[in-house]
């Protein structure tokens, strides 16, 4: 029952396919994660950024160790050794203060370390909350479409456009300024940014044939969302999350700076920098070192995030003056830049109109 003439050719093809199989027989499938990691390893800038982040995390964790080395707990003031005659902070490497002291004679280095704890904690926690909530909302909005999508999408847009100061103020009034307020405010916005993009991705993934295949197998909505769509979302979500962490850190610093967040005497980079303003004329280190700490941290996360994004999909984002394959890049760019480029209209699912 074979097509004459073609059978011979097909056996040849089968033989070559078999050879391929034999060669690769031992190799298990390399997941996208392994491939991404390999690519990332070759990106020097991203690796450097990763190293910096690891160092910062270590320093934050080991803060108590440094306390025992310097004998300066973060909230203890040393008016004698820590302040000069005029009551101003002392500079770096004086009297056992590695980076000098702050306005009330506390060890600046130690306080920066403890500030790092807060910043990293807030950064990771709020991003985590935002990622989970954002994926859930975006996934449901994109998959179910219709009314649910309209409601969720509008809500997401409203949240994104909402002035954060107003919310922070309001919460601070009611709850009193605190770490809780900060986490609440930042999480409130973090999920929206992620949800917007996840929704866009879900909309396009939903149209793929393998989703239709899953439906034809009898898979229910949640099964499809979790097993079929979600794995395809993890990559962009990871990029977004990595890039959101520095935003969260800056957010926290800003809110603390304004006095809406962490309250003194707890060390937070924002608080430190707020007080540092009073000592501009006399103590440059009080501003420079915490600012540097902030800058380096956010820069490192930003660079790492860019690196991860490039490693995920090596074809994109080589922006050239004359486009090569611009159509493809354009598609990807729209997807990733969706959060920045304004409203993406909800596309209702129109079943294929023609026969084949």
């Amino acid at each position: 029952m074979s097509i004459t003439g073609i059978e011979a050719a097909s056996q040849d093809a089968a033989a070559s396919e078999g050879a391929l199989d034999a060669d690769a027989a031992k190799i298990e499938g390399r997941s996208q994660w392994q491939l991404t990691w390999r690519r990332l390893r070759q990106d020097k800038v991203a690796m450097a950024a990763l190293a910096v982040i690891v160092v910062i995390i270590l320093l934050a964790i080991l803060a108590p160790v440094f306390v025992s080395i310097t004998h300066h707990p973060p909230n203890i003031a040393y008016p004698n050794t820590g302040e000069d005659a005029a009551g101003n902070p002392v500079g770096p490497m004086t009297n056992g203060f590695w980076l000098g002291t702050d306005g009330t004679g506390r060890d600046l280095f130690i306080r920066i370390l403890y500030g790092a704890r807060i910043s990293l904690f807030v950064g990771f926690v709020t991003t985590g909350i935002g990622a989970v909530a954002g994926v859930a909302v975006g996934l449901m909005a994109g998959y179910f479409g219709g009314f649910i999508d309209t409601v969720l999408a509008r809500f997401t847009d409203a949240v994104l456009a909402f002035p954060y100061v107003v919310l922070a103020l309001a919460l601070a009034v009611v709850l009193g300024p605190s770490l809780t307020v900060i986490i609440g405010v930042i999480s409130f916005f973090s999920w929206a940014a992620i949800a917007r993009i996840v929704r866009g991705q879900t909309l396009s993934i939903k149209e793929k044939e393998y989703i239709e295949a899953a439906r034809s197998l009898g898979a229910g909505s949640f099964r499809i969302m979790f097993f079929d769509i979600l794995p395809n979302l993890l990559a962009p979500v990871l990029v977004l999350a990595t890039l959101y962490i520095p935003t969260a850190i800056v957010f926290e610093a800003t809110l603390s700076y304004l006095g809406l967040g962490i309250q003194p005497p707890t060390a937070s980079w924002g608080d430190i920098l707020a007080d540092a303003q009073n000592f501009f004329q006399t103590s440059w280190w009080y501003v420079v070192f915490p600012a540097l700490a902030l800058l380096i941290t956010t820069l490192a996360f930003n660079l790492l995030g860019d690196g991860v994004r490039d490693a995920m999909d090596p074809r994109t984002e080589r922006v050239l003056a004359a486009g090569r394959g611009r159509r493809k890049r354009r598609g990807k760019r729209q997807v990733l830049a969706d959060g920045q480029a304004g409203l993406a209209p909800a596309a209702p699912y129109v079943p294929p109109a023609e026969g084949s």
Binding site: S2, D21, G29, A213, G218, V350
Partner: protein, 360 residues
């Protein structure tokens, strides 16, 4: 009214409800609304994708459904599979009316009706391992778990000609033909009764096509499968089908057992399709004259009146535009060879002379 199509070789008694036919479509209609307007989207027209189609497929046989793009064959397939709701008409599967069932009621049916898709590159989730993809049916219908599931999946892989050791690979690591085999394995997992093949080999190289087609016929023999085989390539359809139906713009133009339809097509459209199919033998090819149809396939939103093919038909006359021809057997034909035409092609008639033609 069109009559059900019975399989070749059986007596022409109408099939009883749960008898010989595994699948029966009765006056199936599927229209898609065309919406326009800004804020409030009104329905301004209908895409008449499937317009009053009646077919049946006997157990263990293959019905080949042929048509060009826009003929409605994929839509029909999805209606049978229950993936899209039907506008009117009935889908009868194994004696049960499964038209527009709820998701819950449809679930057990899904174990018995499976689908193989056209594009091997987009019908498999690129982020999942092959073992998981093939194991999906077991997981969804909770028929096997853990080690037992893996064993069955590997058995399936072997059956379709894949190396079971590649259980943990990703689809990207397979060739097009192999991916299609994965699709076949997935469809086969729960030992369905009916497999709807939506152009399963159209995207493959010719040499690979043969392999996959052979696999499909082997499986049919071993597991007693029934196929609804959709394609646009007539040679492929001829190879696999027991009976054939030709669709044009949502309607069946001609249907019947394979051999009568291929050797003596009655519908001008079928004749034109057959004449355009490449012939392997160069002498035959030289002698044959292609029938060139004028015009493009009209839009299914606004189909022509009467016989939908009449604007392009070399034999069309006034009545063709006024009255829709019924699908019925013509004198001198096997009772199951049906055609919907006012002026069917006669034996020995040269359509190429009647319309515009060009030698191949």
């Amino acid at each position: 009214m069109s009559e059900p199509l019975a399989s070749a070789g059986t007596a022409s008694t109408p099939a009883d409800p749960a008898g010989d036919d595994l699948v029966r479509l009765e006056n199936l209609v599927k229209y898609f609304p065309v919406r326009a307007g800004g804020l409030v989207r009104r329905t301004v027209g209908q895409v008449q994708a499937v317009d009053d189609v009646s077919l049946s497929i006997p157990r263990g046989q293959t019905l080949g459904l042929v048509g060009e793009t826009g003929s409605g064959k994929s839509t029909l397939a999805r209606c049978v599979a229950g993936l899209i709701p039907v506008t009117s008409g009935r889908v009868i599967f194994d004696g049960r009316d499964i038209t527009n069932l709820s998701r819950g009621a449809m679930r057990p049916i899904r174990r018995e009706v499976q689908m193989i898709f056209q594009d091997p590159y987009s019908s498999l989730n690129p982020r999942r391992r092959v073992g998981a993809i093939i194991g999906d049916p077991f997981a969804i219908h909770k028929t096997a778990t853990g080690g037992e599931r893996k064993r069955q999946v590997q058995e399936l892989m072997e059956r379709v000609g894949l190396n079971p050791e590649h259980y943990n690979r990703f689809p990207a690591e397979f060739s097009g033909g192999q991916r299609q085999r994965i699709g076949v394995a997935r469809a086969l997992a729960l030992r369905p009764k009916l497999i709807i093949c939506d152009e399963p080999v159209s995207a493959l190289d010719v040499s690979i096509q043969a392999q996959v087609l052979n696999l499909l016929s082997d499986l049919q023999r071993d597991y007693g499968l029934t196929y609804l085989f959709i394609a646009h390539d007539l040679e492929v359809v001829r190879h696999v089908s027991d009976s054939v139906a030709v669709m044009y713009l949502g309607r069946i133009g001609e249907s019947g057992p394979r051999d009568p339809v291929y050797t003596s097509p009655r519908h001008p459209y079928t004749a034109a399709l057959l004449s355009a199919a490449p012939a392997a033998d160069p002498d035959t090819a030289a002698a044959r004259q292609r029938i060139v149809l004028t015009g493009d396939v009209p839009s299914p939103i606004d189909p022509p009146s009467g016989c939908r093919f009449h604007p392009r038909c070399p034999k069309a006359e006034a009545v063709c535009g006024q009255q829709e021809p019924q699908l019925e057997a013509k004198a001198g034909d096997v009772a199951t060879h049906l055609v919907a035409c006012h002026f069917p092609v006669q034996a020995g008639e040269n359509l190429a002379a009647a319309g515009r033609s060009e030698p191949t």
